[in-house]
């Protein structure tokens, strides 16, 4: 059996009594693109830095390719590409110097492939890094994370500061990586991006993984907001009786509610009434996200 690219078991990291992450257990299968969602401070970066071996877990295990990070160290990082959240590259180096340095430390980097990345991301490698804008530094960070074609790429908030055109290139890069059967973990608080890129999503909240599931499953569990204007009195009782309807608010002949699951029963009910207007929003991942973040018992 092939070991999952990433697996954690009851991973806990406390900083002098303060909790960073607590009992985090999740898996990322080989060839998957997984989004790692959560607001700032929820524990995304702590989890990632533990996976990279920068932090020693208080308890529990983090494994890459089935090998304990604490034991596998350098050999595991040879197979991994990494981009930190607040990208900090050697400011006095030029892009070219940085690529030479990091390439030497890694060994065996395909220079033609690296140069192609530089070209695609429109990086100017001849300028000193400290003279580049944040977005351009981020691009250099992306090149170094992908240049050795790693089996696993771990990216902490990778698209911050990237202009839309480069974001598109980044999306292509992630798709190609998946196409090669390689694995990507992307932490983000930009939901639309995770929705666009990822097969699965893990949501972390207050240091705990709340859910890991497929984007579609997550969306199916998400609620949509529904707003109906009736010509006459609102059939409140009938609406309430429909499975999945919640938070019904009746205001004159207006009815607002949330709806989880299939919308068909609601449509059937409305068909029997004179409806002036009907607005329903497509459930976005954002709504799904709020489902988990909205109430503490959602998990």
């Amino acid at each position: 059996m092939v070991s999952p690219a990433i697996a954690t078991e009851h991973l806990t990291k406390r900083y002098g009594g303060v909790r960073g992450i607590e009992d985090v257990t999740f898996e990322v299968g080989t060839g998957q693109v997984v989004g790692f969602l959560g607001p700032n401070g929820a524990g995304k970066t702590t989890t990632i830095r533990t996976l990279m071996g920068f932090l020693r877990p208080t308890s529990g295990v983090a494994r890459l390719f089935g090998v304990d990070v604490a034991a596998g160290g350098a050999a595991l990082r040879r197979r991994t590409g990494f981009l930190a959240g607040d990208v900090s590259l050697y400011p006095r180096f030029t892009g070219e110097e940085l690529f030479t340095y990091l390439g030497s430390l890694r060994g065996g980097v395909d220079v033609a492939f690296r140069d192609a990345l530089v070209e695609r991301l429109q990086v100017d490698p001849s300028r000193r890094i400290e003279d580049l804008s944040h977005g351009n530094q981020q691009k250099i960070g992306l090149v170094q994370a992908f240049m050795h074609r790693p089996e696993l790429v771990i990216l902490d908030e990778p698209t911050q500061g990237l202009d839309p055109l480069v974001q598109q290139t980044f999306h292509e890069l992630v798709d190609e990586t998946r196409g090669d059967g390689r694995t990507v973990l992307i932490s983000s608080h930009v939901l639309s991006e995770v929705e666009r890129l990822c097969d699965e999503v893990g949501i972390i909240r207050d240091g705990r993984i709340v859910v890991v599931e497929g984007i579609e499953d997550l969306r199916a569990r998400a609620f949509r907001r529904v707003h109906v204007r009736f010509a006459a009195e609102v059939p409140a009782e009938a609406l309430r009786a429909i499975e999945g309807v919640g938070d019904l608010v009746v205001d004159g002949t207006d009815a607002r509610c949330t709806m989880v699951g299939p919308i068909d029963p609601l449509v059937k009910l409305l068909a029997a009434h004179h409806v002036l207007d009907l607005v329903t929003e497509r459930p976005s991942l954002e709504e799904a996200f709020l489902t988990y973040y909205g109430s503490p018992d959602a998990a």
């Binding site: 900083y15 970066t45 830095r49 990279m52 071996g53 920068f54 932090l55 020693r56 160290g73 350098a74 050999a75 990082r77 040879r78 991994t80 990494f82 930190a84 607040d86 900090s88 590259l89 050697y90 400011p91 006095r92 110097e97 030479t100 340095y101 990091l102 030497s104 430390l105 890694r106 060994g107 170094q144």
Partner: protein, 267 residues
């Protein structure tokens, strides 16, 4: 240059190294240039020195108190206090920032996301520091070797080499301590502060302790004693004293690697 952590560290310090080397050469030249006039007024200068309190004399001169002879002059003017202090400034600055500086600049995460172990990074940083210190010591030796005869301070290349070797190994000790404390704490200021404190204690100990026969043995606790105690400018390299300094260096490195390897990197 950019093939290894060691190479990159030297690359980063290339301008600083050039500056230090030129500065030290200039300082040596200037110091030697004063010798002829001191020699001419030897009796007056020696009278001033002889009137100094013993403690002060030992702080500035060590054991060689005949400051108007070539050996005495080089020792008093350069090697008893100025050169070790310059070397300390150099190695404490470099050592304390080698790992902790990267951590504070947030580049350590990038470096350690490469397939290199922390131990490797630590030891290569030390190798770079040693090479950098070697350059500075070589500049010291070379400028002395070039300018000694023209100014009549001829003590022989071997004697100059011996004292420079002692200076180099003495520098390694405090470079290693600064590096180790930086790697253990991740804070450059903490590392530089504590290392400077230790160095100051070493100076105090080695100048105060010899004043009384009862406390004389205390000077052997100071690394400075193993740098200058055997007067290498007169007696050549003292392998035992070099060995003690080397041992201190290794101990600092061992402690630093262990601590670096067992802690969390700061975000």
């Amino acid at each position: 240059m950019l093939r290894s952590v060691r190479g990159a560290a030297l690359f980063e310090h290339r301008r600083g190294l050039l500056g230090w080397s030129i500065g030290i050469a200039a300082f040596v030249l200037l110091s030697l240039a004063f010798y002829p006039s001191i020699r001419e007024n030897a009796t007056q200068f020696q009278a001033v020195i002889d009137q100094m309190p013993a403690a002060l004399r030992s702080v500035f001169l060590g054991e060689v108190t005949d400051i108007t002879s070539p050996v005495g002059y080089l020792n008093g003017r350069l090697f008893a206090s100025t050169m070790p202090v310059l070397v300390l400034v150099f190695v404490i600055g470099w050592g304390s920032r080698a790992v902790a500086g990267e951590e504070e600049a947030h580049t350590l995460d990038l470096l350690l996301s490469m397939p290199v172990t922390r131990r490797r990074v630590f030891l290569e940083k030390f190798a770079a520091l040693a090479a950098g210190l070697g350059v500075v010591c070589l500049a010291t030796w070379a400028s002395l070797a070039i300018f000694d005869i023209p100014f009549g301070v001829d003590v022989g290349l071997g004697a100059l080499a011996a004292v420079t070797v002692h200076l180099f190994v003495f520098g390694l000790v405090f470079g290693a301590i600064g590096l180790a404390l930086g790697a253990a704490s991740g804070r450059r200021g903490v590392a530089a502060g504590i290392t400077s404190g230790v160095a100051a204690l070493a100076f105090i100990l080695s100048s105060i302790a010899p004043l009384s026969p009862d406390t004389r043995w205390l000077q052997t606790l100071s690394p400075l004693y193993y740098y200058a105690g055997s007067t290498p400018l007169l007696h050549g390299v003292d392998p035992l004293h070099i060995g003690v300094l080397a041992l201190l260096t290794v101990a600092a490195l061992a402690g630093g690697t262990w601590a670096f390897d067992h802690r969390d990197l700061r975000a």
